[in-house]
Amino acid sequence: MNFEFSADQMQLKDIARKFLEKEETVKRARTILEGEESYDKDLWSQVAEMGFTATVIPEEYGGLGLGYLELCVIAEELGRSLAPTPFSSSVYLATESILQFGSDSLKQINLPSLASGEKIGAFAHTESTTSPTEENISCEFKDGSLNGSKIAVTDGDVADFFIVSAKSGSEVGLFLVESSSDGVEVTSQPTLDPSRSHAAISFKNAKAETLDSGWSNITTLLDRAAVLFSFEQLGGAEACMNMAKEYAMGRYAFGRSIASFQAIKHKLADMYIAVELARSNCYYGAWALSTDAPELPTAAATCRVSASQAYHECSKENIQTHGGMGFTWEFDCHLYYRRCRQLAANIGSQSIWKDKLISSLERANQI
């Protein structure tokens, strides 16, 4: 059995971690959170220079032609380091849409500039507080143009193009709309995690191109992305666990390190349990994604639920372990707490993914 990342993949992970540490990405996340910029342009160009944005794009389209396991280890480090870039939108969602469902001409036009980071793509799916379904999507594509509006589009204010879910006749599918097209209006939306920008977008007879689609393709896109989001969440969860431990070791109360109190130790043990379950499930997701396994829907939902739970547990209990200091603007705990919520909501809520998990097990009866 070889249920592990290879030595090369672990080395890539180490390179990514060291690079992101050197770039002080947590500080950068705070700068974006507090400032006017939507993302860290300098960091983004360095991430692209490292080749991270090009990881799974085939060489013929200007990519590195590596596999999804490589992308998983990069995702974990980006999550751990809170990197304030549009990586998840552009790579896990927009690039994936084109790779999986784009025509060759769409690939020719978009993939090289996605690989180099010159172009940023975003996924526009949510329309209201109700989770999007095949029945409730109201954006509509007809005769080459798209009408309707979307909200909470992550990186929507900086994207060069959007992958938009919309109905077309009796089917719901994916469409590509350039943000510079006539009839596209982008409005920034303030969010609970300002280190990641969001926007509302309206389309009025905006020119759109069709991707090879159908609702099942949207499901597949979300399943594939869920594995990569899970790795980001796992990295963030582990970072919170380590922060909590370091703080507890150095903080003294009642004449002793608070890390010697069982109340704190058991809290940390619970975090460890959540992180280990999530890591093991993420590996399952990585395996399913990288091998195009028929188990992907089950594996994706499993790792998504598990990693969301771990990040929630670790980010809230990290604040708790820090006591009053954890609640201050000055300490970094809240950066993770915010990002945890942002990532957990990004491609569908916990309840939705739990329901997907049970549905996929019912379908497969694969237990």
Binding site: M1, A259, K354, L361
Partner: protein, 409 residues
């Protein structure tokens, strides 16, 4: 990343499977398995099976061949475990002897003693128990009081042990005692092995909340043990105990009983408030949680096996198994009984009755969360040994054992 065997592993797996196929019958479904009519019958069947295993070289696989083992690698033991789980074969009774007494004898007994005692452990002819816990020393097992006094070459033992699984059918036991109460807790312990037929040993079964009686109180009244049966130096008993405690934590793994599959199947066939339980969102959320826990444990195990397959030492991720599976079992059992509504209260002696399995899990989980290290002790171990956090402050540190406050429970 894959789940495949190496060529050597595949060859070994085939060999194991073929031997099992020739000597046992395959399980007919996930709920199928070996069951004995009674404890006595079970013991007989286990001994017959173990003898067969030993004859063909499948007993105590990682032990030296000289003592009845096979000198197998850790990955071979894992593969054997995976293959054997497909078959209906007798089990139980021998784990404590082979898993805990064996290693400590291997490490501390004389060559002559090893030659005498290890082979019958491997063949299943002799059964051993572990005499550690006492009424006033559970999680704080170093706080035991059973007294050992040396006169010439003979020790005299007085005191009481408790929770001793299998003491009533064991031939020998490993025993930790207090030989010097005037020094601090961990320093005055001495370790022995003892013939359970010795005069002065009295075994009384303890009735558990399930109604069964798998473990016992064991009373020692002027029991004589020759000094030659001491394992490790006088006063070194704690160090010797740690060898077996580490093995115990590895041995007590997954909680057995209804799991996700059973709850899922039940929810798909059982009505709840006019529709199938599986259509209830609260039920779906719970099922999803258990599936994720079960899957997380399964793939943590695969990560361990991968490390073993590469010849490396597995990471500490297996330390979470008992906590997660014990708590999951308790919740699944409670759910199963709840879904059966008032009928879940009724006991049924009918074999295979739905509620029996959940009732068994309902009782069993309460015990699993305590046996072999409570949830709380395991969380201490995770935080100290895995995360490197400091020990809690102890009120008994450096104090002679006989001056430590002991309360009245």
């Amino acid at each position: 990343m894959d789940f495949n065997d190496t060529q050597e592993e595949a060859k070994f797996r085939k060999e194991a499977y073929e031997w099992l196929k020739a000597n046992a019958s395959l399980k007919e479904g996930p709920k199928d398995g070996w069951r004995a009519a009674s404890e006595e019958e079970g013991l007989k069947e286990v001994k017959v099976w173990q003898k067969k295993l030993h004859e063909d070289g499948w007993a105590c696989m990682h032990w030296p061949k000289a003592y009845g083992g096979r000198e197998s690698t850790p990955i071979e033991r894992v593969i054997w475990g995976q293959e054997v789980s497909k078959f209906k074969v007798p089990g139980g009774y021998l784990e404590i002897g082979q898993g805990m007494a064996g290693p400590v004898m291997m490490m501390y007994a004389t060559e002559e003693q090893k030659e005498r005692y290890l082979p019958p452990l491997a063949t299943g002819e002799e059964i051993w128990c572990q005499l550690f816990s006492e009424p006033a020393a559970g999680s704080d097992v170093a706080g035991i009081k059973t007294k050992a006094e040396l006169d010439g070459d003979t020790w005299t033992i007085n005191g009481q042990k408790v929770w001793t699984s299998g003491a009533h059918f064991s031939d020998y036991g490993i025993l930790v005692t207090r030989s010097d109460p005037s020094v601090p807790k961990h320093k005055g312990l001495t370790f022995f092995f003892v013939d359970m037929k010795s005069p002065g040993i009295e075994v009384k079964p303890i009735k558990q909340i399930s109604g069964g009686a798998n473990f016992n109180e064991v009373y020692f009244t002027d029991v004589k043990i020759p000094d030659s049966q001491r394992l490790g130096a006088v006063g070194d008993g704690w160090k010797v105990s740690l060898t077996t405690l580490m093995n115990e934590r590895l041995a007590v793994g997954d909680a057995s009983g209804p799991d996700f599959e059973e709850a899922f199947t039940l929810a798909r066939g059982q009505d709840l408030n006019g529709k199938l339980a599986i259509e209830n969102d609260a039920v779906r959320e719970k099922l999803a949680d258990w599936y994720c826990q079960q899957s997380g444990l399964k793939f943590a195990k695969y990560r361990n096996i991968s490390a073993l397959s590469r010849g490396e030492t597995p990471g500490p991720q297996s330390s979470i198994t008992k906590i997660v599976s014990g708590n999951k079992l308790q919740e699944v059992a409670n759910f199963g009984l709840d879904i059966l509504d008032s009928a879940g209260i009724i006991r049924s002696d009918e074999d295979g009755a739905e509620q029996s399995m959940y009732q068994y899990g309902f009782y069993g989980a309460a015990g699993i969360r305590i046996a072999g290290g409570t949830d709380e002790i395991l969380k201490n171990i995770i935080s100290e040994q895995v995360l490197g956090m400091p020990q809690d402050m102890r009120a008994d540190k450096g104090i002679p054992f006989n001056e430590i406050p002991s309360g009245n429970k």
